[in-house]
């Protein structure tokens, strides 16, 4: 066991101090297999060693939270005996190396997280970031990622119902692929990695184990054990959605028939992570027999078997008395299953391979006792107090068309028409809506889900950017009439070893925590993705927030936009001259400066309550959140949603007289002030709407009426919807060089 190459630990990404820690845990030198296991389990990706001390500041408790952070996914009580399981996770680096498989396996991985809690995965959303889509590399990434998400999601039969796609040069060398999945299960089903008792058997289910994805989660990817050997094989895993589909059905049948004590997915660090987490969570140990692992390549060594990230595998904990029944279910679904281990009381993971003990370590030391760092941090500089100078002298119609055709604001139809949004018999509102609305199986109720995150805002002010992301995602959910109830987050940042990045991260967590507290939204889980930089160029700090909402009557879901003529158009909230970090600032100046829009959390809370109230009173025919591209883009999307035009006046811009009169219209159209929503309501609802808005202290401005086939602001602009549609729908295909 002591034949280790000197310095091997460093090649695996462990520091000298971390090796010391391993030596003191074991009281001896680790074997090669043990060192590989520690290097992965103590990697940033698996151990959250740099983020843990900060994530504790996020609120995670609430009356509906059945399972908070620390499990495979968060669980929220929806009432009526149903629970939602949901989580978002990143697959950024694999998607850059191999966009199709990287994105596909990202979808596969988050689906298994939901499955591991015992829930049927129902729907997915994706938050994607790329550089300029007109550049050949970015086009290849976008096409590959979208095709990979579609291939996997479509083939496993999980609907892809929403998300966002944003383009910004900061992601050119490091795209972001964050995948969120929600599933449903009976609330009393509290399946988890926690095994029942000693003697329980760990059954490895699903695909054979190969050399793919070795070190995918860790720095192992960038090192080899011996020069010139096979260890330099591609580190990106290869997905097989057909296998995953069978695995889903087999696992759910096992769960529904009560044949399981626990279930754990195999993701980062493969078998190592699964057996360590299962044993550690139960406060037990496990005898592990690697000879039971079906191998794609018989020449694999123990450490490779332990850390391979081959996809489509699960670990089921089974009462020995039910083993035959469990294996029969797997056989019927045509998936491999073999007894990998047995739970023991001694707390030790003892791994045997070809007659030898190749590893013997305390399970908890891998899963729970990894290093935790309070890394040095430099707080981000305060953004300037003054408003950024942004030209507001463009012709309004041209400005609206330019915003509508900006790739970030443009229609993403090209993307989501490649995704099956129908499967599952539950999609009430799908892609292109403010939030996806999914019927809760067996009920007349629904959940709403949205993901948001504005890297430009977070780059200017990380705390404000993170808070704005929470506010926007929750606002999108509230626009459907659903009450926001819980959050999952994916924090995408550059290297935590740089104090200024760590300072940005800490500030973003603080901003997110404050917003979640104010909005009453517990964070039930998520993911941190560090090291998102390329050639020393970091991405914008990009906290992505997924918000889950609950709608008591699915039939009352408020559609996005203007559904029919003859409705009053209202704007809730105040419009100020706020263009720092805006799309208009980028379009006109190419710069990113100033401060992001101000966010008053009390106002935001009031707005959400009002939106839910208005929907519950059935006063709304349509609604639409205002975000990137401001009122201009909101109007374009609202009119194009059902092809119904509108004639409106622009809202007042605060503070009065801040701008010369000729600049006011464009400020009203392009400002990205927070806490605003566009409404369409029947004229007879006006009195009630105004009264409820007044009660909630939310300003409501009557802008005009829906109808016709043009967007008209008298004296400012008059655009046929056909022109808006051409600009909005064709922008992305145009950028990609394709017919719309």
């Amino acid at each position: 066991m002591s034949s280790l190459v000197a310095g091997l630990h460093r090649q695996l990404g462990l520091t000298d101090e971390e090796l010391e820690r391993i030596l003191s845990v074991l009281g001896r030198e680790p074997s090669r297999a043990e060192l590989a296991m520690y290097s992965l389990m103590w990697s940033e990706h698996c151990s959250y060693k740099s983020s843990k001390v900060h994530l504790r500041r996020l609120p995670s408790e609430g009356a509906r939270v059945l399972q908070g952070p620390g499990e495979n996914a968060g669980v929220v009580d929806l009432g009526d005996g149903v629970a939602a399981v949901f989580k978002i996770e990143s697959h950024n680096h694999p998607s850059f190396v191999e966009p199709f498989q990287g994105a596909a396996t990202g979808v596969g991985g988050i689906i298994r997280d939901i499955l591991a809690m015992g829930a049927r995965p129902a729907a997915s959303l994706n938050s994607l970031r790329f550089g300029d889509p007109a550049e050949p590399l970015q086009r290849r990434l976008l096409e590959g990622v979208v095709a990979g998400i579609g291939h996997y999601g479509n083939c496993v039969g999980v609907a892809t119902v929403g998300g966002e796609v944003v383009f910004d040069p900061s992601y050119a060398g490091n795209p972001l692929v964050n995948a969120l999945t929600v599933g449903f299960m009976p609330a009393e089903r509290r399946l988890s990695g926690r095994a029942g008792r000693p003697g329980d058997l760990a059954v490895l289910m699903g695909a054979e184990t190969g050399r793919d994805g070795i070190g995918g989660a860790s720095v192992l990817a960038s090192a080899s054990f011996e020069e010139g050997d096979d260890a330099k094989r591609p580190n990106v895993q290869v997905g097989d959605p057909f296998q995953e589909k069978l695995l889903i059905e087999a696992c759910l049948e096992l769960v529904e028939r009560g044949l399981l004590r626990g279930l754990q997915d195999l993701g980062a660090a493969g078998i190592s992570c699964a057996v360590a987490e299962v044993a550690a969570r139960a406060g037990m140990g496990m005898e592990v027999d690697l000879d039971a692992v079906p191998l794609r390549e018989p020449s694999m060594e123990a450490w490779e078997v332990l850390v391979s990230e081959s996809q489509e595998r699960m670990l089921a904990l089974v009462d020995p008395a039910r083993l035959d029944e469990a294996l029969e279910v797997c056989r019927r679904w045509g998936i491999l299953a073999s007894v990998l281990g047995e739970m023991t009381t001694d707390g030790s993971l003892r791994v045997r391979f070809r007659g030898e003990v190749v590893a013997e370590v305390p399970a908890a030391s891998l899963a729970d006792d990894g290093p935790v760092y309070s890394r040095p941090l430099v707080p981000p500089p305060a953004p300037p107090a003054a408003e950024a100078e942004v030209p507001l002298d463009a012709e309004a119609a041209e400005a609206v068309l330019a915003l509508a055709a900006d790739p970030t604001c443009a229609s993403k139809r090209w993307v989501w028409e490649q995704y099956d949004r129908f499967v599952g018999h539950g999609t009430v509102a799908g892609p292109g809506c403010d939030a996806a609305v999914i019927r809760i199986p067996g009920t007349g109720r629904a959940v709403a889900l949205a993901t948001d995150g504005n890297g430009r805002h977070a780059a200017l002010d990380p705390a404000a950017g993170a808070a704005l992301a929470v506010a926007e995602a929750a606002r999108n959910v509230a626009c459907t009439g659903a009450r926001p109830i819980a959050v999952t987050n994916c924090l995408n940042f550059a290297s935590p070893e740089r104090p200024e990045v760590m300072g940005t991260f800490a500030a973003a967590v603080d901003g997110m925590a404050a917003a979640c507290r104010a909005l009453g939204l517990p964070v039930t889980g998520g993911n941190v993705s560090f090291y998102n930089e390329s050639s020393g160029r970091p991405i914008h700090p990009t906290p992505i927030v997924g918000v889950l909402g609950l709608l008591e009557d699915a039939a009352t879901a408020v559609p996005t936009g203007f559904p029919r003529p003859g409705l009053d158009v209202w704007l809730l909230g105040e419009t100020r001259v706020e263009l720092g970090g805006s799309v208009w600032q980028r379009l006109t100046t190419g710069r990113l400066e100033g401060h992001p829009p101000a966010l008053d959390l009390a106002t935001e809370v009031g707005l959400h309550r009002l939106l839910v109230d208005l929907a519950a009173h059935r006063l709304l025919a349509g609604a639409h959140d205002l975000s990137e591209g401001g009122l201009a883009v909101a109007l374009v999307e609202a009119t194009l949603a059902s092809g119904v035009g509108a004639t409106i006046t622009l809202p007042p811009v605060l503070p009065p007289a801040a701008l010369p009169p000729e600049q006011v219209p464009l400020a009203a159209l392009a400002s990205e002030s927070a806490s605003r929503a566009l409404l369409a309501a029947p004229p007879e609802a006006a009195g009630d709407l105004e009264a409820l808005a007044a009660k909630a202290a939310v300003p409501a401005t009557h802008l005009g009426t829906t109808g016709g086939d043009r967007l008209v602001v008298p004296g400012v602009l008059d655009l046929p919807l056909t022109r808006l549609r051409d600009a909005h729908e064709a922008a992305l295909p145009d950028a990609l060089g394709e017919p719309a």
Binding site: N154, V156, P241, F242, K245, Y419, F422, V423, H425
Partner: protein, 221 residues
């Protein structure tokens, strides 16, 4: 009426098809690919999905499953059979329907609501539809381009059950053909998904007519 829905390994829309059958007032019966027994059902639906992963030609493996022997016998005896998307591909592979389905002309998976025109009401699955009426039903497939050596002859024989409305052909299918029937009219296959178009909460309900048709057929028998 008992309507069987087959589950192949990789079927994705079997649960939705059963839910649609139930919402139309019939009794859904789950049928398993490995069973040679149709459990006494009065009609069979082969659902959408990716049977056996569709890693070979779509539907090419599923046609050999034990249940398909029973489905073929059931079809020959005049039993109503509906193949949706992957189920349509399976029926073509099994020789129960004419033609074949190839990769979409646009080379990408496409998911959208399309208008489909009812061309023939002389089938078990369209008898309650209005000839020439337009139904809004979603498509979602990567390999749905229908090809046949002689589409005009197929149309003349009354075997074109559905066409995409002008401008709605999502995949380059010959003669805009969206669905076909066997000469007897009891076996129908189509790329659009009627099981996703029965519940007004979830969108247009153009798929209801197909289920109403088979229910009406059963009522007449």
């Amino acid at each position: 009426m008992r309507i069987g829905v087959v589950t192949f390994p990789g079927s994705c829309d079997d649960r939705d098809a059963r839910a649609a059958v139930a919402s139309m007032g019939a009794d859904p019966v789950a049928l398993w690919h490995g069973d040679g027994d149709l459990r006494g059902v009065e009609a069979v639906v082969l659902p959408g999905g990716f049977s056996y992963g569709d890693y070979l030609r779509c539907g090419a493996i599923a046609r050999f499953s034990p249940v398909m022997r029973a489905v073929a016998a059931f079809a020959r005896a005049g039993g109503p059979v509906l193949g949706i998307c992957n189920g349509f591909q399976v029926l073509c592979e099994a020789g129960l329907l004419p033609g074949a389905l190839l990769r979409n002309a646009g080379l990408r998976f496409v998911c959208r609501e399309v208008e489909v025109v009812v061309e023939s009401t002389s089938t078990a699955w369209t008898s309650a539809c209005q000839a020439g009426s337009s139904l809004v039903i979603p498509v979602k497939h990567g390999e749905g381009r229908y090809v046949h050596p002689d589409p005009p002859a197929l149309a003349a024989a009354g075997q074109v059950a559905f066409c995409y409305a002008p401008g709605h052909n999502p995949n380059g299918s010959l003669a805009d053909i969206a669905g076909v029937t066997n000469p007897a009219g009891n076996v129908v296959g189509l790329m659009p998904h009627p099981e996703h178009a029965v519940d007004p909460l979830l969108g247009p309900v153009g798929g209801r007519g197909l289920f109403e048709s088979v229910l009406a057929t059963a009522a007449r028998v």
